[in-house]
Amino acid sequence: MNLHKLGIIIGREYLNKVKKKSFLIITFVAPVVFAALCILPSLIMMGAKEETKKVAVVDASGLVLPTLENTDVVAYYDFTGRDVDSLKTALDAVGMDVVLDISPLDSVQRTVTAHTYSAKPLGMETSQIIENRINDAIETYRIESYKIKDLDKIMSEVKSNIHLVSYTVDDSGKESISESSVYMVISMLLGMALYMFIALFCGMVMSSVIEEKSSRVVEVLVSSVKATELMFGKIIGVALVALTQFLLWILLTGAILAVAAGIVGKDKIAALTGGGNPTEMVQQMAPGVNVPGMDVADLGTLLPAADTTAVAADSTAVAEPTGMEAIFSTLGNLDYGTILLAFLLYFIFGYLLYASMFAAIGSAVENEADTQQLQIPVTIPLLLGFFIAIYAFKAPESQIVFWGSMIPFTSPIVMLARLPFGVPTWELILSVAILIGTFALFAWMSAKIYKVGILMYGKKSTFKDLWKWLKQK
């Protein structure tokens, strides 16, 4: 390898890609999207309360109406006795938004049917509230019908609402709280990110190879440099593009969040984002977490006052960490250094492995449309890695996940998905070593195919051809 020429090739590949409009757009738009994803949902939840819906209640059963209580979202008005059909068409005239029509009590089934009519569809929240109220009323009616003294009190005492608090224990007996939903989300994000980046940048390498071949510039190039120098220059150039993009994404997203924090107020952003988007995802995914009212400026410590709707106002529950605290505590306990290092290692070598294969495929075709068939055996393991990764955040200890994180074609994605759940160091080292070894082997084989492939024109190449080129001296 002539390092000087390799450098020139890397330089051209890098500058050419980095100066492209599409690169600039993705680099600068994506952080805005990331930041928006961090901030917006919370802002929406906070700011955009639904307008109070005025509900005209026509309660033929007489059971529901007395139990209805007005809330911010719904205000009830008694229209019992009025004709539902005429109300439906005259909502505006009576100043109502919705008609709630409750049937007389069915004395056999001991239930009612209920319908609403409105000009605009009801929001999820509104219909949920109305439905709950009716159910409560019917339940109360049924409980009372047993004529057992204090049954309603007994029932409310019997009700249970337990949140499972999980700890991980290491050898020394140190306990750390682990919220499995956090692991799942982080694991999913890592696996997905790696899959996407490998696919994206390997695709870039392949089209770059095809471009040189189809534009016929390649024969001039290989008369000046060795084909292997050309191939590796290209692969390394695109890798640098990827790393540049990561770096810019991190910096820009950070900058945007910082600016947003300056505008909205630091505490609120901290509370809203929890310091990074994974938390935001968790907040959305973990039910029972009440974001708007929360004050979590101090992430590290447990906050007894945190308001979680799921926990009953029972004095014993306060001592246990609640859902939100568990999430932050779990986030605080993750080993970010290892995760970042592993992400970079697995991205770099996973990318190198796949990029060399994609370069070999690109060398065998004259235009992108012809890649379909040849691409299959390379994209399938990559996809498989993605699917095993999905399995990894459901069952991180399973056999298939273990093997998936060892086999080099799936290990970059699967191992990253496993990582938040904790992976023994020896497994990590072994897996990376296998990956690097496989990369070396495949880089050598791909270079042999590439060398012959780039100068082959005319006939559409098949696997048989690739195999022949591989064996050629």
Binding site: N2, K5, I8, I9, R12, N16, E211, E212, S215, R216, V217, E219, V220, L221, V222, S223, S224, V225, A227, L455, Y457, K468, Q472, K473
Partner: protein, 286 residues
């Protein structure tokens, strides 16, 4: 004199297919050497072996008696028949890139390219994108990138294709000028007129074999039918005729006979076969 390039028994096969079969030839230094042959004869394979893009299955190529090294390859300029450029790149960047890959420093490349751009009157193209160029313009740029690093051996595969007559003439003159400056040029072309005009020696390859190699004049004479074309005037007026040279005689014998017959010779020319005819004859005979 030791040839610049010596091919010794060079063979190349791709699997079952034999592209070159035991080709041996010498390319003298400072000459224009025509590499001829029908499509698919193996010319491109031979060229690729000379500039080390492809490794021969057997046999070897020597540059001044030594095996071809990286240093030698850096002194070759190659204009392939199927040539292209990066469409999205700027003309200047593209030229700089290719020149640097040939081992020139950025400064050397810049200076040399400027000179060539002025010579070819294309100064204003430097900042244009390659895709904006016409085919002829792109060909000019490709020619420049082939010769910018002052190669001692140039391999030009169909250098005139895509040029209008004016620019083809410009390239022809450049090739001759480069030869004057001492470069050796391998010219692969189907244009037999330019072979007659430019080449000192040729090699004809057909169906992966070397058919003939040698000086152009020598070959033309060898395949000539020994005829002369004469114009003469006698009592009946002016005539034009093709006359055979008698067996064992020279063209002078024809002249002597004409003069002896009392004819006035207006013009007299030995008829040399056209390279075109020799090419067709040799290729179809095989």
């Amino acid at each position: 004199m030791e040839p610049l390039i010596r091919c010794e028994n060079v063979s190349k096969s791709f699997g079952e297919k034999v592209a070159l079969d035991g080709v041996s030839l010498d390319i003298p230094e400072g000459k224009i050497f025509g590499l001829l042959g029908p499509n698919g004869a193996g010319k491109t394979t031979l060229i690729r072996i000379i500039n080390r893009i492809t490794i021969p299955t057997s046999g070897a190529v020597y540059f001044k008696g030594e095996p071809i090294t990286d240093e030698v390859v850096a002194r070759i300029g190659y204009l392939p028949e199927e040539r292209g450029l990066y469409r999205k790149m700027k003309v200047g960047d593209q030229a700089m890139y290719l020149a640097q890959l040939k081992g020139m420093s950025a400064r050397e490349a810049q200076e040399a390219l400027k000179e060539w751009f002025i010579r070819f009157d294309i100064k204003d193209w430097w900042g244009k994108k390659v895709e904006e160029l016409s085919k002829g313009m792109a060909q000019k740029l490709q020619f420049i990138t082939t010769v910018v690093h002052k190669p001692s051996l140039m391999i030009l595969d169909e250098p005139f294709s895509g040029f209008d007559p004016v620019n083809a003439d410009l390239i022809r003159k450049e090739i001759l000028r480069l030869k004057e400056e001492g470069a050796t040029i391998i010219l692969s072309t189907h244009n037999m007129e330019s072979v007659e005009e430019l080449c000192d020696e040729i090699a004809l390859i057909n169906k992966s074999h070397l058919v003939i190699t040698g000086g152009v004049e020598e070959i033309r004479r060898k395949y000539g039918n020994n005829n002369v074309e004469v114009e003469y005037t006698d009592t009946e007026g002016r005539h034009s005729e093709v006359l055979p040279v008698p067996e064992g005689g020279t063209t002078n014998d024809v002249l002597t006979t004409l003069i002896g017959d009392g004819k006035v010779v207006n013009s007299f020319r030995e008829l040399m076969p056209r390279m075109n005819d020799i090419f067709i004859k040799l290729v179809t005979e095989e």
